[in-house]
């Protein structure tokens, strides 16, 4: 049953992505992107990653989609023009995909309990984090305690991104500023 649900959701994901590729209307594409994130979060639940599903649902399906809608509201949601130069792109994609398939064929099966990923540090975290940290959720104890510096780095990255956004579109968009200043030169800042 686990396998069946997983496979069905993955098939729906592939169908959604193909629809995104073929769709020319940007708002419809954004809707489908919301579905993509929801589906991906459902797949994460099936693969036992509940915390990741939580984050993906709120961040991927929520914030990303709304940010894209906001961008479309500012920049206009004109129908996308027909893409040029499809053939070279298809060749690159097929070649890269083939190489990746070849590379993946050497990995252990999904769910194999003897895979290298589950034989080293995994045991330590599962067996000792409950007594060492005292939090039942292993993901939380690893995130906040064992790998706390990673999380600190993540905060630094988000801070930098926020600074970048403020530098780019700080006090309203260019159009709003132009309207406020009454000139239409376009090259403000």
């Amino acid at each position: 049953m686990e396998f069946f649900v997983n496979a069905f959701l993955l098939a729906l994901l592939a169908a959604t992505t193909i629809a995104i590729v073929r769709m020319r209307r940007l708002i419809a594409t954004t809707m489908l992107f919301g579905i993509f994130s929801l589906l991906m979060a459902a797949v994460f639940v099936v693969l036992d990653a509940v915390d990741v599903a939580f984050t993906e649902a709120s961040v991927g399906a929520g914030i990303s989609t709304i940010l894209m809608l906001a961008t479309l509201a500012i920049c206009g949601a004109k129908q996308e023009s027909v893409p040029r130069k499809q053939l070279p792109a298809i060749i690159v994609v097929v070649v890269t995909g083939a190489v990746l398939l070849w590379g993946v064929s050497g990995l252990p099966d999904v769910g194999d309990p003897t895979a290298p990923a589950t034989t080293h540090v995994y045991k330590r975290y599962v067996e000792e984090s409950g007594t060492e940290i005292g939090v039942p959720n292993i993901v939380t104890s690893v995130l906040a305690s064992y790998r706390g510096y990673d999380t600190l780095g993540e905060v630094a990255v988000i801070f930098t991104a926020g600074l970048g956004i403020i530098c780019l579109i700080g006090a309203g968009t260019g159009q709003q500023r132009r309207r406020r200043n009454g000139n239409d030169s376009g090259d403000d800042v």
Partner: protein, 103 residues
């Protein structure tokens, strides 16, 4: 028993996805996304019971909220986006009692 519910939900998700892809109008797509979201909420709640760890209902709760916010955000887009002008015009016309039959 939960298997029946899971299969029913998966089938409905497939149907809703088909409607979202086919369209044809934007509102059909929004409706399909909304339905799809509700089905995902249910699927995650039921899947917890199916795998005998029903502790993860919180995620379904978050989904339910996100789904509603998403739908309202999309509709808000019509009030502020590039369609805003024609949309407001039509709203005023409809509210004035004109049903828009003459165009």
């Amino acid at each position: 028993m939960f298997v029946v519910v899971t299969v029913a939900l998966l089938v409905t998700m497939g149907l809703a996805l088909a409607r979202a892809i086919v369209g044809p109008t934007l509102y059909d797509r929004i409706l399909a996304v909304n339905t799809f979201g509700t089905k995902t909420v249910l699927l995650i709640a039921v899947y917890g019971y199916l795998t005998e760890r029903p502790d993860f209902v919180d995620i379904a709760l978050v989904y339910a909220l996100i789904n509603f916010i998403g739908t309202v955000a999309v509709l808000k887009f019509f009030e502020s986006g590039e369609f805003a002008h024609s949309w407001r015009e039509r709203r005023e016309r409809v509210e004035a009692g004109d049903t828009g039959d003459d165009d």
